[in-house]
Amino acid sequence: MSGTFQGTYYDGRSSQSHAVAVLIEHGNVIIEGEAISRAEKLSAVSVSGKLGLAPRKFSFADGAAMEIPASEELERALGKGSLEWVARLESRWAYAVAALVVTAFVLIAGYLWGLPAASRYAALRMPESASNKIGEGALELLDEHFLSPSRLGADVQQRILGRLRAMQSPAGELPSHRVVFRSSPRIGAKALALPNGVIVVTDELVKLAASDEEVLAVLGHELGHIQERHALRSLLQGSVVAIVVAWYAGDVSSIAVGIPAMLLQTGYSRDFEREADAFGARFMAANGLPPENLGNILRKLDNVHGGGKVTPYLSTHPATEERAKALRNIH
């Protein structure tokens, strides 16, 4: 392919610009201008690929440079440039729309399925010792600020612990765990699974429960968190979400990053709660105890903590009614 073009040439030693006539034919590029005359093989010159209608740039081995305004004729004369296939995709609106659809699909599929699957795979294969390193000092921290020693009678504690020890796991071995009782008027009735296997149960929760079975149901739910390594998965998934949102929205505004990231992260948190519920229900069923116990204690906890009318998308836990219904369906 050949053609003659008007270009601007720079010798690479000064910023003087020279208007030149450029002939491209038979794989050669011949440049003629005032006090300039050179001929090179096109293959010896580094030519920039097509980029919209931006000028095409030429770089010579001796440091000289040249630019020629883009045109279809020039494209034909130069033949295939670098990343030609990308330039072809960029040139049609049909491809742009397709790219948009593909991007949306991959991001949504990644969020809903890809990332959780990869995170679960990685987290469950990590050795327990590594997983336990997370939040090592958490219990000490909680004891310092929120928790006081339990006021439950030793007999009550032993009874619950004894029953728990006698229970079987619904599948395989139970993860290593240690249940501790604490009193906490500040936090109220609650059970917490710390990443290193410690489960904190407050006196208030034991008092709220109508029976030991309800406490065991909550312990089952917490064991689910530990078994499924939710703390580690939450950290992995939360970090990736934060990175992707920051990359996409970050240069619009750094504030804009916070809310979408949080909404996406609480979405994952609600999935973890559902998973823990399912484990808790199977745990109860495997030991001949009714899973409804979990639903019952969840409702009581909801009432005691003054169920807020917060929109479900901001909440880290699914709505209690939804959880109770799901539990009824597990036998």
Binding site: D11, R13, S15, L51, E67, A99, V106, K133
Partner: protein
């Protein structure tokens, strides 16, 4: 040195002042297609292609920007950028995970981070400028890590102990660090922006930023007082959730918009203050841009970006970059073509040296 034809003609030519305004030819539709295709490819390759996408993106802006009939070019190599991005991701992950593991670990990571920050910033600036070219000659960045450490570690500390009052000075110093060490060929830039406009800008902005949301909040309180003024509302806790939302939401929303508008206003003012009066060799830059107009356009664009889930961003980038680029005018002491002569050997050596250092490009 040797008397090249260019230098000979400088001695002969009668000095003739010339004025050249920067022009920008980027097109929104064209750039949108480039942007979305490159985003799709980056997402499909889990981010690996993003280094090539960045080169393409920057080159679209560089090549469509021209001065005195010549356009710019970006020479950054995708592999070097990829290395930098992988490093950045590793650093980010460590930064996120460290506090979860143990406080001591986090402190170590934090201090190590502070130590390499000046080096990272300096390297990124060198990479960016060294890979920027105009008329076949490269730009250079001559800043040193020691000074970067002073500017980016010591001065923020000053800002902290003066409770923010030293912030305009810190900002001025960072701009001075960048501009005064920039060079094109043999021409060194001279940063002439005075400190005064920086202080005036931030005082004004702090005033606006505090005043507007306060005004909204006050007027809402007055309004609600009027509605419940008969004293039936002695305890704000008596308001139900919806009423509380009605008071807080508009104030937060207005505060948010004010913040975004202020950020755009600052961007425009800093651009003008830094570029206006900048010296490049014997030439001077003049820069004029109405910051209110820029802020208004930015806000309108942000609204459109929000409504389109980010799809309008490429159009906005083109428009805003065009405004900023075309606000710059170069006043040449002589003819531009002859004036920017440089000793090629000197330039080449500086370029090689920069390339030998870990070529990295972080987030710029």
């Amino acid at each position: 040195m040797d008397t090249s034809p260019a230098q000979a003609s400088v001695a002969d030519a009668a000095p003739q002042a010339s004025v050249h305004r920067v022009s920008f030819n980027g097109r929104g539709g064209e750039y949108f297609r480039i942007w979305i295709v490159n985003v799709a490819l980056s997402v499909i390759t889990l981010g690996i292609y993003s280094a090539w996408a960045k080169v393409r993106r920057l080159n679209y802006f560089y090549r469509n920007t021209s001065l005195a009939g010549s356009s710019f070019e970006y020479h950054g190599q995708p592999l070097a950028i990829l290395k930098g991005r992988i490093l950045a991701v590793v650093l980010l992950v460590v930064w996120n995970v460290a506090p979860e593991i143990h406080l001591v670990f986090f402190l170590v990571v934090f201090i190590a981070g502070l130590c390499i920050l000046p080096w990272l910033i300096n390297s990124a600036l060198r990479f960016r400028l060294h890979n920027s070219a105009y008329r076949g000659l490269r730009f250079r960045f001559l800043g040193r890590v020691k000074e970067a450490a002073k500017v980016f570690l010591l001065y923020p500390f000053f800002v902290l102990i003066t409770l923010g009052i030293a912030y305009p000075y810190f900002k001025w110093r960072t701009k001075q660090f960048f501009f005064s060490h920039a060079a094109y060929g043999s021409l060194q830039a001279k940063f002439n922006a005075p400190l005064g406009p920086f202080f005036r800008l931030y005082v004004f902005v702090a005033f606006l930023g505090a005043l507007i949301p306060l005004a909204i909040a006050l007027s809402l309180i007055v309004y609600f007082r009027g509605m419940f003024g008969d004293g039936s509302l002695s305890n704000p806790g008596d308001l139900d959730d919806w009423a509380k939302l009605l008071i807080i939401a508009p104030a937060v929303f207005v505060g948010f918009i004010t913040y975004l508008g202020i950020w755009a206003f600052i961007r425009a003012r800093l651009h003008v203050v830094c570029w206006d009066g900048l010296g490049i060799g014997d030439h001077r830059v003049q820069c004029q841009l109405n910051p209110w107009k820029f802020a208004a356009i930015s806000l309108a664009n942000l609204a459109l970006i929000f409504l389109t889930f980010g799809l309008y961003k490429p159009f906005s980038d083109i428009q805003l970059t065009g405004l900023l680029a075309q606000s710059i005018e170069l006043h040449c002491a002589g003819d531009l073509s002859n004036a920017l002569a440089s000793a090629a050997v000197e330039t080449r050596a500086a370029g090689e040296e920069a390339a030998e250092i870990f070529d990295m490009d972080i987030g710029l």
